[in-house]
């Protein structure tokens, strides 16, 4: 085999994969093959690449055991996945059913539940603290309240409820700011400054007294 230049070999070796993939034009292919006929090193490299590719392509397509897929099918049938594996659970199914329900139901149910719970708590505390015959009017109203509240809540759509909550948060934040400012103002006007003034005045008085005493001292 005749000797070829190093750069030519480098270029040909770069083309090995394109040749194997059939991406070279016919002229390039001829050039490539004619170089291989002259160059032992490139022929060796080409045969190595071809062997690797043939071996890789010879790898069989594998499949996993059926039991690998079993937990997945269980999940698909209504199970619940945990970090340890896939375990069936009725809770997951319940949550899924709840999540797939209408939006109004998803929002109104928790709100109604909280309202009912709060009302029950109020009723219980009133019934414990007050005698049965002397029950205030508000407690009697509260007995009727859950049903009315539920009826009222279901009239609002979730967007309105979300808006109301946002407005409420905004109002709370505003009130907090006002409160902080008022607190600062009050403490400045009625606590800190008067206190400072009083202290300063007492110090001044003490200093003057000391000065007078020193001036009047015969020694």
């Amino acid at each position: 085999m005749a000797k070829t230049s190093e750069s030519q070999c480098y270029f040909v070796q770069l083309q090995i994969d394109s040749y194997l993939d059939g991406d070279l034009a016919s002229a390039q292919q001829q050039e490539f093959m004619s170089h291989l006929k002259q160059c032992e090193a490139c022929t060796r490299e080409f045969r190595f690449a071809q062997t690797l590719l043939d071996t890789v392509m010879d790898f069989q397509q594998l499949d996993c055991d059926e039991q690998v897929m079993e937990p997945i099918y269980r999940l698909a049938n209504g199970g619940h996945q945990t970090t340890q594996g896939v375990v069936g659970s009725s809770w997951a199914a319940m949550v899924r059913r709840f999540n797939s329900g209408p939006l109004l139901l998803r929002y109104s149910l928790p709100v109604a539940a909280v309202a009912v719970l709060a009302t029950v708590m109020v009723l219980l505390s009133i019934s414990v603290l007050t005698p049965a015959g002397d029950r205030p009017a508000i407690a009697q109203q509260a007995v009727v309240a859950p049903a009315q509240e539920l009826a009222q809540l279901q009239q609002y759509d979730p967007a309105e409820i979300r808006q109301a909550v946002e407005d409420l948060n905004l109002a709370i934040e505003y009130l907090n700011q006002i409160g902080r400012r008022t607190d600062a103002l009050i403490s400045d006007r009625f606590l800190i400054r008067p206190l400072q003034d009083t202290l300063n005045a007492s110090f001044e008085r003490a200093a003057i007294r000391n000065q007078e005493r020193t001036l009047n001292d015969p020694i």
Binding site: R44, F48, A49, V56, Q61, N77
Partner: protein
């Protein structure tokens, strides 16, 4: 929906598992990845574009493989002792077959040791025979990038010294066998000539 899901798993299971196996070279890890992929498919069933399901699955499989590789890097030495149960069962006693098997094992190790995306692309293209469009869709890169990574990945495999050594040994063995074969042919030709003479 469940029937469709089962059909999809049957259709793509082998591709996902093979990809995971040749990327991780460990049966149990490949099974874990396959499970992860199909659980994700179930979780995202409504959102997945079913026209591009194969590409979506391969993308998820590739990400799962990358996660596994990241997790196992410190304990990599333990990976391979249980990897070849299937392969070893089919081994022949013939020396050439063993050589081929050793070469194959070494090549699998070399593929596993490639960094991503070289590993994914070599497995998808050369092992699984996916076309460039599928690989492109799975990895969200252009076709020219796929080709560049594929060629670089193959060059990295060719740069593996152990593989090169095995190939050279095999070549030398073959040439010795050829020489001895041609030598014996020559001797028998000479014997025939003498006999006739």
């Amino acid at each position: 929906m469940l029937a469709e899901y089962r059909q999809a798993t049957e259709q793509h299971r082998q591709r996902v598992y093979s990809f995971a196996y040749y990327s991780l070279r460990a049966k149990e890890d490949a099974e874990d990845v396959t499970q992860e992929v199909f659980i994700k498919l179930w979780q995202h069933w409504q959102k997945v574009d079913h026209g591009k399901l194969g590409a979506w699955l391969m993308r998820v499989a590739r990400n799962a493989v990358i996660d596994h590789v990241r997790k196992q890097r410190p304990a990599q030495a333990n990976l391979d002792h249980y990897a070849d149960v299937d392969d070893q069962a089919g081994r022949s006693d013939e020396a050439s077959e063993i050589d081929r098997q050793i070469f194959k094992d070494q090549l699998q190790l070399a593929i596993k040791s490639l960094d991503d995306p070289f590993r994914s692309i070599v497995v998808m293209r050369d092992v699984q025979g996916l076309n460039y469009a599928d690989i492109q869709a799975s990895l969200s890169i252009s076709e020219s990038q796929v080709k560049v990574y594929l060629h670089r990945g193959r060059r990295k495999l060719r740069a593996n010294t152990r593989l090169r050594q095995l190939f050279d040994e095999n070549l030398a063995q073959k040439s010795r066998a050829n020489q001895s074969h041609s030598g014996s042919d020559q001797r028998s030709a000479n014997d025939k000539g003498n006999h006739h003479g």
